[in-house]
């Protein structure tokens, strides 16, 4: 169980520009705790930019991000230690082993030895990476590599975890394992925020937010959203939109 009260995040009219190119125009979204939020959209739609703004890694050109702890407004700086992030690009040290990664992040987060021992054992058993603790990250398979990234993020028992395309470049079996790992987090009341370009994964989320060219085009529970848009799958929905914008 993640200690502390649940955290929720509200995005209000966020804009971001990169040298005349507008990456986000007026995003407004609510992320409630205990849910798995999927930010779905094609490549270049602004998913990563939105995450980076949420995490304080970038400043929005306009708009605000509001953070709440147990329903009361809280500052990002106070909540920051409880928000974990797993970037999309390879973000581990290829020359450090799984064990060395865990030890480095233990020191980085200042985790006490006993808490660390428990957490380490739990994460290694859930991820099934225990036999590979001495293997350098550079020699792990795509799925194992992502799992290690997730373990490093989970080591400090965050209340919010933000994952940028965790399943990209991962084989189908490892993809399923990763999703199972994420579901376990929901039981602990954690807010999970995940982006994906795999549209079939959208249906695994409790709530999806469809983003296209820097704008939210739809938001809601996956089934209801599809019914609403009269589409059988998210693939079909995006293909239809792509065809529509091409014919305009």
């Amino acid at each position: 169980m993640a200690a502390g009260e649940p955290i929720s995040i509200q995005v209000r009219d966020v804009h971001k520009e990169f040298r005349r190119f507008e990456a986000l125009h007026g995003i407004t979204l609510d992320f409630d705790p205990g849910l798995m939020h999927g930010i779905i959209g094609p490549e270049g739609s602004g998913k990563t930019t939105l995450l980076r703004i949420l995490l304080g890694l970038m400043r929005p050109a306009q708009g605000r991000i509001l953070y709440f702890e147990g329903g009361r407004p809280a500052s990002f700086d106070v909540l920051r230690p409880h928000i974990a992030y797993m970037p999309q690009a390879q973000s581990l040290y290829p020359d450090l082993s799984i064990e060395e990664h865990l030890a480095f992040f233990r020191d980085l987060y200042g985790i006490q030895p006993r808490a660390y021992a428990e957490k380490r054992a739990e994460l290694l058993s859930v991820s099934r990476l225990a036999p590979f603790v001495d293997r350098p990250a550079g020699q792990l398979s795509g799925g194992m590599y992502k799992k290690l990234g997730l373990m490093c993020a989970l080591l400090r028992s965050p209340r919010v975890i933000v994952l940028d395309e965790p399943t990209t470049g991962v084989d189908p079996i490892s993809r399923r394992e990763l999703w199972e790992l994420l579901y376990r987090l929901l039981d602990q009341g954690i807010l999970v925020l995940v982006t994906t370009a795999y549209l079939d994964e959208a249906e695994r989320c409790s709530k999806v937010h469809l983003i296209e060219s820097g704008s939210v085009i739809a938001s809601g529970e996956p089934r209801a959203l599809l019914d609403d848009q009269k589409a059988r799958s998210f693939d079909e929905l995006f293909l239809r939109r792509a065809a529509g914008s091409a014919s305009e």
């Binding site: 890694l57 970038m58 400043r59 690009a89 390879q90 450090l96 480095f104 992040f105």
Partner: protein
Amino acid sequence: MIDPTLRGFIKKEFIQALRDRRMRFILLMMPLVQMTIFGVAISTEVKNIRLAAFFNAKDNVLRDVYERAIMGGWFIPAKAAGRIAQHPFELIRANKADAVLVAPPKGFTHELGRKTAPLQLLIDATNVVQAESVEAYLKAILADTVASDLKVAASPPPPIRFDVRVLFNPSLDTATFMVPGVMVMIMVITTFLLVVMGVVREKEQGTFEMLIAAPVSRTELIFGKTLPYVVIGMADLPLMLPVSVLAFHVPLRGSFLYLFFATLVFVSTIVAAGLLTSTFCANQQQASMGSFLFMFPAIMFAGIIFPIENMPPSVQVFAAIDPLSHYLILLRDIMLKGSTIGLLDRHVLALVGIAAFSITASFARFRTTLR
């Protein structure tokens, strides 16, 4: 008790720097190998100058000059045969001789009896440094020989008599002068490159994004990325010092404590400069380019190869802001003169100033947000 975040960083940097076998070799063996090779090779001394002399059999003084030159050890006889051997100019053009002495038609000895004695000296000046040395050597030998051969009672004694005493390096051994310079160069190359590459690698791997998203302060990040390299840079000292003292007989007249202190200040300054450079570089290519842009002028203006005193005053400014020049002076002072230095030594203060500037600028430039 050291901050756990910082401790984690230091541990991680050591694992990464020392894990790779090639990296260990570069860090530990290269200083030794380079010290030995450079210490032997880099020398401003000119030796094995090929000398030829044209004079007739009765020209005793010039023969003495030639023989003294060869006996002195700096010169060797030029070897040539056939037509080339007959023409002083051809000898030099065909690269058979570096210097040629040509006696006047009636002989140098004969002319000495008159008011002024002409003597032609041809020197190959394609290498200016060598040419200047050759001229100086030969003039000295000439003056000596003439004085002793003629017992010049006729000419009045020169008004000034120099009593030259060469201090601290009485044999004018170039190793004594060059080895500290080589130490400085090796230290700056390994330390500077390691720091710049260490920071830039994080940016390139994307690990930097993760670090700044983690609850790590900018101070922890900066010191975590730099302190390990100060330690690694300091390891060069016990590696290189024995080589310079035992193999090159460079004296260590001052206290090791002073040497250690000066080196610590210098290595910290280099690490700070490396950190500042890394803030301008996004990838390894830019990092190598940036390192080169720093190190090349830093070595040039250090006074290792070219004396700072010979530079125009406007350029001496660069030497003043070059950490290498200050450390080189400290190193030579401590090792050769046995000087004691204080915390407030001019060169120590200069190094501290450069380090403080680099650290401050790095803090200002070190982004904890992405663009």
